[in-house]
Symmetry: D2
Subunit: 394 residues, 4 copies
Amino acid sequence: MINLDELNQFVRAEIVPLEQRFLQDGFGAVLPAVEHVRTMVQQRGWWCPPMPVNLGGMGMPLTEFAHVSEALGRTPIGHVCFNVQAPDIGNMELLHGHGSTAHHADWLAPLAAGRTRSCFAMTEPEFAGSNPVHMATLARDTGDHYEITGHKWFTSAADGAAFAIVMAVTNPDAAPHLRASQIIVPMDAPGMTIVRNIKVMGEPGEGWASHAELLLDRVKVPKTNRIGAEGAGFTLAQERLGPGRIHHCMRWIGICERAYALMCERAATRALAPGRMLGEKQSVQHAIADSRAEISAARLLVLDAAEKIEKRGQREARIEIGMIKYFVAGVLQRVLDRAIQVHGALGVTDDTPLSYWYRHERAARIYDGADEVHKNVVARHELRKFGLDVRSEA
Amino acid sequence: MINLDELNQFVRAEIVPLEQRFLQDGFGAVLPAVEHVRTMVQQRGWWCPPMPVNLGGMGMPLTEFAHVSEALGRTPIGHVCFNVQAPDIGNMELLHGHGSTAHHADWLAPLAAGRTRSCFAMTEPEFAGSNPVHMATLARDTGDHYEITGHKWFTSAADGAAFAIVMAVTNPDAAPHLRASQIIVPMDAPGMTIVRNIKVMGEPGEGWASHAELLLDRVKVPKTNRIGAEGAGFTLAQERLGPGRIHHCMRWIGICERAYALMCERAATRALAPGRMLGEKQSVQHAIADSRAEISAARLLVLDAAEKIEKRGQREARIEIGMIKYFVAGVLQRVLDRAIQVHGALGVTDDTPLSYWYRHERAARIYDGADEVHKNVVARHELRKFGLDVRSEA
Amino acid sequence: MINLDELNQFVRAEIVPLEQRFLQDGFGAVLPAVEHVRTMVQQRGWWCPPMPVNLGGMGMPLTEFAHVSEALGRTPIGHVCFNVQAPDIGNMELLHGHGSTAHHADWLAPLAAGRTRSCFAMTEPEFAGSNPVHMATLARDTGDHYEITGHKWFTSAADGAAFAIVMAVTNPDAAPHLRASQIIVPMDAPGMTIVRNIKVMGEPGEGWASHAELLLDRVKVPKTNRIGAEGAGFTLAQERLGPGRIHHCMRWIGICERAYALMCERAATRALAPGRMLGEKQSVQHAIADSRAEISAARLLVLDAAEKIEKRGQREARIEIGMIKYFVAGVLQRVLDRAIQVHGALGVTDDTPLSYWYRHERAARIYDGADEVHKNVVARHELRKFGLDVRSEA
Amino acid sequence: MINLDELNQFVRAEIVPLEQRFLQDGFGAVLPAVEHVRTMVQQRGWWCPPMPVNLGGMGMPLTEFAHVSEALGRTPIGHVCFNVQAPDIGNMELLHGHGSTAHHADWLAPLAAGRTRSCFAMTEPEFAGSNPVHMATLARDTGDHYEITGHKWFTSAADGAAFAIVMAVTNPDAAPHLRASQIIVPMDAPGMTIVRNIKVMGEPGEGWASHAELLLDRVKVPKTNRIGAEGAGFTLAQERLGPGRIHHCMRWIGICERAYALMCERAATRALAPGRMLGEKQSVQHAIADSRAEISAARLLVLDAAEKIEKRGQREARIEIGMIKYFVAGVLQRVLDRAIQVHGALGVTDDTPLSYWYRHERAARIYDGADEVHKNVVARHELRKFGLDVRSEA
């Protein structure tokens, strides 16, 4: 258990003050300070809450971690201070649930301890991310080894990672959903190259805060590096989505709450003319009121989904998991847009975290499946209740 | 306790089939059938759930009745079949909480029993409804009596009502919020005239389903007809708002769910061409997916507000009570609009209830305070937390 | 030429005052007054401007009539006073362009003179209106005659019409776009029945202001009643769309301008409290400012389309004709919605024309092809320029 | 006259290919190539079209330059290649219209020739930009000189500029609109410091593509450096707005058209699965169709405003000048958002110019007066026609 008031106070006192260093000078510049905070977090016993105690975590259930993820989401470097940042936490959950004993010892333990970082290489530039069974990276079976060749991008946090979990086709002749496997590939394996940190929304970033383009040219790894069964790659990718969605959405709620507080504070303290405050304008009041209602509704929807995952399992909750993706991403974008508008010129500078989120969370409507895809999935599920089975999406 | 599955089944089997009579021919035409359903409701022990048992009700708490109100909201004549229709249920709650013993015997008992109907006369055509302390109807104190003169409109359900609760100025020299009182006025009192049932959105309506313009010309009523203290009219009006808001919002959720089901059913069964169904269109799927997420979020927000009212009292929950007004009204309008669009030409006919709701629930963004007013209230409350006290709304 | 200032003044002085009679009591009640205005219009030489002089009109080109249609659109009964109301003006244009000499004498002349009314029977309840080649009404060739059997609805203004132009399949084995023909059917032909005036948005209406459901049971008409070639029905229907779209869209612009003026007037004259006017609220000001910009932009887009039709022909202008449909319909709905909100309770009554338009122009996004269909058409046309030929719409 | 087809071809062939250098490596990296293009532009006689021939320009009227500005707007470095980039072109127009003979020789001539750059220092961090008469920078009259002290920010393109035109209070006791003057200040004047290039939306930028924070500490300039009369600063600032608005809005239209073309091209060429193209999705088609209509309408609205400025003067066209600000900025943001969504992950990278515009044109709704301010101005003007004079904005 983490007391949320204490946690929020910790975030305000210890992490938010580091933000400007990150926003102005990048991840490398703030990293020493982040490491210092990580030590404080471990001392308080708050380290990596979703991981089990034997891995240094707290064994915290999803519905409880949801609130922690919100609290950490209030600053762009919150999650990384608690070692629950994407994609590492997702990789930890995957390895914990489906990795072998050797995987646990070699890759999971140091990752959970925060001694290494990792990445997840799935998306390919030549194929639409909205169709995850459509890829070209091939893992050729050479007996004891796979020889992997392919082209990936948007491999977040590859820069400085110890290993990648690579989605690659191992069974090219199987049905589309049974073709790929997930394979652990050390980043220093011969043939594995970071082509570039892609310049995304104005900055290539560095370290954890980056998105790489990778080339894999006949990279050899032992077949024991495969996670789970051969051909299970897509199924495992689906499985990480449920809890991951809750993490993400609650992080977005945290962003929303921070943007909301910044907006209210600006409105309450900025003078338009002597004695006439910005917050007296009805358009500003409506930006506040609409945001307040939307954020509160969004949080309830996410918590409801988390509860359903816990009570009924991910499969039964898949509509809820789909809905929160596009609903919360929409709220996030509107709240950030309003907060920027209320800040005026200050809002487009990097003197507040609003610009960072406005830029980098634009992708919230795109990654993990574009909103349009999730809407199709939800609607087709609903239509089946009324007797229509839409096979080919339109 | 009402089993919700049974209730939904009852609504589908007994009330929905009466809808077309109401939509095509009006309230008078469907009234005999409604009376028949009311008898069935009483026999099942489901009568007027929020009223106490000694008044024939079930003493049902707000958080539980919320779900009942949703179930009844799925048809325009659901609430009236359970004697929980506005404005009667609000008047019952007011009389129950603040009426004298005589009021209980004379007015509340027959109302709760469904033997009479009532109305609530507050809005005046010459004054903005968004400013409820601004009115001209005057109750002159003549010793034992009040002599009331004024002009009211949007007095819903006045046609056929036994009495009106009239908001009138009794203390013209008091502070604005302390000027008015609420007074019971029999509809057959000399000087009380229904000028017309206002033609609203294409129909004047009749009986319960109408909105009257009233003239009060020196209407005499005993001072004992006043509810609560002199000058308490505005305070009492505020008090009825909290539970009333939950009733309304859950009714709107019920409307949304019905519209949603109609939309899905149409999408699943309407052919665009042989073998090509409407529901295969992505724009229709997105209408469904957006509606599903918005309705679910809206319901959670209303239930959360109801819980806060019950746990912390109406005063502490006033932000939540304000938020659900504009948030749910917005969802309601969008869902109805999408459901109509998916129905095409059928959607604008009165062959479904969609047109009725599209027309008559347009007022949801206006009555009980326009959305803009509630947004101002919520924002000003929030801004106070940040140190800004906005007095005059802008 | 019609001087627009004079025309606007005429509409304000002679037609707008009749509006309330129409809105409260229906088309029959206002008809005598409309007939009186029609006489005045003829005396001024303003009768039926798009028709040629020999038919009593003015031979006015489309780009000029566009402005007239806007001026008349400011009141629901404007067009009918000038004998340019839909569907009659569309039928006149069709008969004038493609009718035989006998059609001109028998049907067009009395119609253009305003001595008769007509209707256009195309839509069928069992088939999606968005797919106009999909219909069941069959005109069986019996030698000299067609024997027509079918089911139509949304046949606007059938009540009291002298004849219908009926779209019916004459060539069931032809390609889909070549199956149907347009055939003149007298309303008093044996076997032609008006089942009902459909109750649309709260009212069945009457006379010109109605939408009928029709049954044709082996209705016999001479084959000479067919307009144009056998199988040309769909092509002729397309052809009427271009000028008809301009008429409709400029009428919508007229509605927008009237709603805008009502909104401004209400904002400028309604007190929220002594000395504090509604128009001082920023939300009201933004409703006005957004509407002003959208209406002005919409008008320019329609006038640009009209010019392209005149200069390059309807085929070359088909993207413009498609775009104005959904763009202007969207503006129309938003402007009406804002005008109602600014009016508060008054806005939902029929004491202004806002409610009438809010209700009956909801269909603007549905009739003549739902907005979604036109968007698909525009996009597919644009995508062809980039090398993608989308055949089956998604 | 510039042939627009030739111009568009030139932009495509000579400027667009330089874009990636600018987007990936910054303004300094692309500057040599830009200088080369500038020489080509001069050779073609297309240099700085709005300036008169004797200053090396073409003396092109506003309505004609509007189309040129659109063509150049299709790439972020288009305007700078023709020496018509903000803020220089605005400064040229100001100096040309109101500068002394000495100003023309010393500052305007080299600026128009492209040998220098300039900036415009108006906004101050401590004061709301939406209230331009509210500022603290003071120009103290010391006889022959002004001694200027103040704090400015968002002084675009200050980095590398030869001079700034500084708005400073010269008459602190005058009425608010008569307090300030515009004064030419060489950037190398003692006491003038660039504190930083503000990091805006992820990048501090450099050279022309930057926004500086400036400190003026008792900067001395001769009083002859003042442009126009003492206290005329605000009036001159207003005057530059009209043509400047047309330049900006047509540049935005150019951005929209480029984003639209990129969106269509992506939709037409990106496969979702073998043989199934992105452009077959209805949601993509609707993004295209909505954008096409909105861009076309926006262009017509801007051209109409330009024509009104030319025919009736800026004062008579001020509503049009206000409307296009918020209308076109809204279209710009929506079109960019849709284009990014259609591009998926590629859309958030800097591999296309979409990210640059998404980030840097977010300010379009803020600079030159936030949209909210322009809406208030338009509405108040409209309300005056209906008899309401709103003095204090709400």
